[in-house]
């Protein structure tokens, strides 16, 4: 699905990531860990073509990222659902409108997808707050809404960047359960986190690979996790 071959990324003359090799297979579950500033977010951005590699090759669903036109990247984003730590909502739209945004921008009839939208909001436990605005939500609610938005287009890959960074442990476990459910439905999941307890909790439910970014390189983490 997504394959990185000898990928490096530099910014401002400084190499941030170097010699990355990784293949995200359908139905896989990956955690990405490492200290703050190690390059976790940069790595994820390379995976959904928000950044282009300085060298090496990234293929996404069989297409070389370098050869993608701007419209190809827009279409790619509909196959990869992204959940950010800061959620990235449009604050002037309601929860329901934010969740339906990927449908709106891809030209699909939102009215025709209402039942799908309702089911999704029910799945993340946000049925009672569909008309609320994002600033009115708690951290955990925002993350669940972001997850609903990330999956509404039925993407093959879910990428979550520090999704539990701003929420309590109980809410973190609830979000993890949703992500594990998605993985069991056959979706690939990549979660960047520095929360080792979350990784341990996930490993009890799913066969997850843990990758660590250290010294600009990516490696399989030890069995201590």
């Amino acid at each position: 699905m997504i394959e990185l071959t000898d990928v490096s990324y530099s910014y401002g003359g400084r190499e941030l990531l170097s010699g990355l090799n990784l293949e995200l297979k359908p139905g896989s579950f990956h955690f990405l860990t490492g200290p703050s500033g190690a390059g976790k977010t940069t790595f994820l951005k390379l995976c959904y073509a928000d950044l282009l590699a300085s060298s090496g090759r990234i293929t996404m669903f069989g297409q070389d990222a370098r050869e993608m036109q701007r419209d190809d990247i827009a279409r790619l984003r509909r196959r990869i659902g992204v959940v950010h730590q800061d959620c990235q909502f449009l604050d002037h739209l309601s929860v329901a409108e934010n969740v339906a945004l990927p449908l709106t921008v891809s030209g699909r009839d939102v009215q025709a997808e209402t039942s799908n939208l309702v089911d999704l909001l029910s799945w993340v436990g946000m049925t009672d707050q569909t008309e609320s605005r994002p600033p009115e939500l708690s951290g955990g609610e925002r993350q669940r809404v972001a997850l609903a938005r990330a999956v509404i287009m039925d993407p093959e890959v879910i990428i979550a960047d520090e999704p539990t960074g701003n929420i309590d442990w109980e809410m973190s476990l609830r979000l993890l359960t949703l992500l594990v459910e998605l993985n069991k439905m056959g979706k690939s999941v990549v979660i960047a986190t520095h929360d080792l307890n979350l990784i341990r909790a996930a490993k009890a439910q799913v066969a997850a690979r843990v990758l660590r970014i250290s010294n600009r390189q990516i490696q399989l983490a030890g069995a201590d996790l």
């Binding site: 419209d71 984003r77 990235q88």
Partner: protein
């Protein structure tokens, strides 16, 4: 094809897509006001251009067909020379009408400069003969030579000397009016580009989110293009209506008022200003489209 799709999308509208970009009060007011003010100026430039065009055409056609023969001779010879000149003129091919101006007409010609109580009898005023030519025209050089032989005090003035610079000046005024309209369109495009850039910069986070969820450049640009096109067209519509009203209230054209009172629209020319809001919408469409795509490329 993509342009036609975009134009159709702007005309059709999409309430869902319109809501994705929050309304920005400042750029909205700036665009509406600029478009309105520019349309107001454009209507006057158009009125000036059309009025000078009419003037140039009238001067060219009226003056081109008329000429004057002036007889300046000692008091005892004037009548004989007038008769001789009329005889020459009536036998000249291409001359349609020959008419000796009477005393009242000559007085009317001089009145604007010397007042109504002019003692015409006591002044050595030359006798004027009006000549109207046929559409084929006459040989002015040949006529001058014949007049010189038959009536030495006769001078033929076919108005060429002063007609040409007047017609040229009116033509240039018309061009100036059209250039003004082009400059106004350019200035409108520049102002709308600045306003669109400001709106795009203010909505950088919105654009980022839209990109994240899979919006293409065309979708994002369209949300801004539609908004600015409609604002510019509405602003220009209001400005045009106000300017048309102002032109309507200008004094009517009259002989006494000359050129200034003829500065307005006549007949079907009143339809011309109605093109201005459409033109403003078209300019806004292109200016915003170019600005949006440029900004989106810079944003990566």
């Amino acid at each position: 094809m993509s342009i036609l799709t975009d134009i159709w999308a702007v005309l059709r509208g999409d309430s869902e897509a319109d809501r994705t970009v929050p309304p920005t009060g400042f750029t909205a007011r700036l665009t509406v006001f600029s478009a309105g003010a520019m349309a107001f100026l454009a209507v006057f430039a158009l009125a000036l251009s059309l009025a000078t065009g009419r003037l140039a055409d009238r001067w060219a056609s009226e003056l081109a067909r008329s000429a004057t023969v002036r007889i300046s001779a000692p008091a005892g010879q004037v009548e004989a020379q007038v008769k001789a000149a009329v005889r020459v003129l009536e036998t000249t091919p291409g001359v349609a009408v020959v008419r000796v101006l009477d005393e009242a007409e000559q007085r009317a010609l001089l009145e604007p400069w010397f007042g109504p109580d002019l003692p015409l009898d006591s002044l050595p005023i030359p006798q004027m003969i009006e000549v109207i030519e046929e559409s084929s025209g006459y040989d002015s050089e040949g006529l001058r030579l014949r007049l010189q032989a038959e009536a030495p005090g006769a001078v033929l003035d076919d108005h060429t000397r002063w007609r040409k610079p007047l017609v040229r000046a009116a033509g240039r005024l018309r061009t100036l009016g059209l250039v003004s309209i082009l400059l106004i369109a350019g200035a409108t495009a520049a102002m709308i580009t600045l306003a669109a850039n400001a709106a795009l910069a203010a909505n950088a986070q919105v654009i980022r989110v839209l990109r994240l969820v899979g919006a293409g450049d065309v979708y994002i640009a369209r949300a801004f293009v539609r908004r600015f096109t409609i604002r510019a067209a509405l602003g220009a519509g209001a400005g045009t209506l106000l300017a048309m009203l102002a032109v309507l209230l200008l004094p009517r054209a009259s002989e006494a008022g000359g050129f200034l009172t003829g500065l307005g629209f006549q007949g079907w020319h009143w339809l011309w200003p109605l093109c201005i809001p459409v033109l403003a919408g078209f300019v806004a469409f292109w200016a915003t489209r170019l600005a949006a795509f440029r900004s989106l490329k810079e944003l990566m």
